[in-house]
């Protein structure tokens, strides 16, 4: 493959959307009310749409006759490059919202930069994505505030989720080799450049939600380099089930 770095760079972004969409897909029909059920499905659909655009592009540049589905379904676990944050389980609604919020703030900042990439395809996907991700962020921040500044129980639960998920935030700004290479080529985004802005914005929302900003300085990482949590294998077992069981078919 000629553009190995670009290919990997695309997956680093796209796999987040795929795995988060998959996690949200598990919830469909099980939300706390119809309105949130619909909203979360909507977010899942947006993310899936983005995933497809990225993978179609990656498939094209791979030059190996790959399809979006080959990329989505036929890699081994170590080849998925999503961050650990998006694979965290739907422990309770606080976790769903916390995960979404901590990802959305990052995601929007990334899209805002990426829309100016000289790579026209990536820029176009990002441009379209900004509208969607802005909505996601509004939804998740609103719910962080509702749950944080709701009842005592909801405050405890929201705080628990934030405390727990916090250790996955640092990885968002870890630069993989593919990212560094694409930054060098002027195409990719130096995510570490908006790390400070990220924590500032996140902290403001948490403060408004009357939540405590975690002080934990220990973080986990590995996802972006393909070393995932023990949750990932089970996600993939379901995700890949059909393609693995019935290979080489049209659906």
């Amino acid at each position: 493959m000629k553009n190995k770095n670009l290919y990997n760079y695309i997956l680093t972004i796209a796999d987040n959307s795929l795995i988060l969409a998959q996690r949200l897909g598990e919830l469909c029909g099980h939300g706390p009310n119809l309105e949130t059920d619909i909203a979360l499905t909507n977010i899942s659909l947006d993310l899936l749409g983005q995933t497809r655009s990225y993978y179609q592009y990656a498939a094209k540049i791979s030059g190996e006759g790959k399809t979006e589905d080959d990329i989505a379904f036929l890699r081994i676990e170590r080849e998925y490059k999503n961050c650990l944050l998006v694979e965290q389980p739907n422990t309770h609604f606080g976790y769903v919202i916390g995960r979404q919020f901590l990802f959305d703030v990052y995601h929007l900042m990334l899209m805002e930069k990426l829309q100016n990439s000289p790579d026209e395809t990536l820029a176009a996907i990002a441009k379209k994505g900004i509208k969607e991700v802005s909505y996601h962020k509004r939804f998740s921040s609103d719910w962080v505030k509702r749950l944080g500044d709701g009842t005592e129980e909801s405050n405890t639960k929201m705080q628990e989720a934030i405390d727990d998920l916090w250790r996955c935030t640092d990885e968002l700004f870890f630069m993989t080799d593919a990212e560094n290479a694409m930054v060098k080529e002027g195409i990719g985004i130096d995510v570490s450049s908006f790390k400070g802005k990220y924590y500032k914005e996140v902290s403001e929302v948490l403060k408004e939600a009357t939540l405590t900003i975690p002080e934990n300085k220990y973080f986990t990482k590995g996802g972006k380099e393909g070393i995932h949590t023990e949750h990932m294998g089970y996600i993939l077992a379901d995700l890949q089930y059909m393609q693995r069981t019935y290979p080489n078919m049209t659906w």
Partner: protein, 318 residues
Amino acid sequence: MSEKEVKNLEEIFEARIARDEKIEPKDWMPEKYRQTHIRQMSQHAHSEIVGMLPEGNWITRAPSLRRKAALLAKVQDEAGHGLYLYSACETLGISRDELYEQLHSGKAKYSSIFNYPTVTWADMGAVGWLVDGAAIINQVPLCNTSFGPYARAMVRVCKEESFHQRQGFEIMLTLCRGSEEQKAMAQDALNRWWWPSLMMLGPTDAESIHTEQSMKWKLKRKSNDELRQQFIDQTVPQADLLGLTIPDPDLKFNKETGSYDFGEINWDEFWQVVKGHGPCNKERMSARVNAWNNGEWVRDAAMAHAEKNANKKIAKAS
């Protein structure tokens, strides 16, 4: 109100319906009309919501990204249908919480078809093709029903359902054009969903209650047996097109009637499922009740937060 006055109002009311005028929530209506509509619309809404579960079961395992997105969108549409059907109910003075309570306690029914498991991916095709197909046949006449909010909701629902039905058929078509395993999967799904789909059109006319009154209020235009015949006549040629065999050895085109004769329906099974003893009744109800119970703290928080905000605004204004 005197008995005579009520009688008078009822006559005016029935006359309006006979003239095809729409009844709106603020209009006077007989209590029985209100109750019947709450019952039917909420049953319909519950069916949409419970109906999300058998299809939701395949979201994480859909075989392609395109199919996954389409399935997500479909299940989301169902949630949307539920939402505006509940809203239509609410115009008759019952709250969504009360309606849920009726569902969760088993007092309200939902369509029995959703108590069958979705066993393979082909079920996503069969459900769309057959279940949505039968639903449309039930629902299209309701676009002209007498109660305005219900009629308007049904216009939108039917449009989306018929999209879903085509999508389901297309899943079946892809399978039938695929490998031997895929074709077998499609046939197997048809085998399992055919009879329950026929049952979806309701008990035979002899057993059906509510029919006469419902006809007058345009909640029903044709009898269950007529609708069932319509469904069969429409579906058999589609099965032929797919190259699939309808699992009914007695199915035969009747040149005289121009319709298909068909075998006996296992009504024992129908009543068993209706009474709560189908393959998934328990699972479906648990899933709904768990979602509701687990979501209580979230709904409470949203309410508390909204109150706090309202109080803040009042404090600011004063």
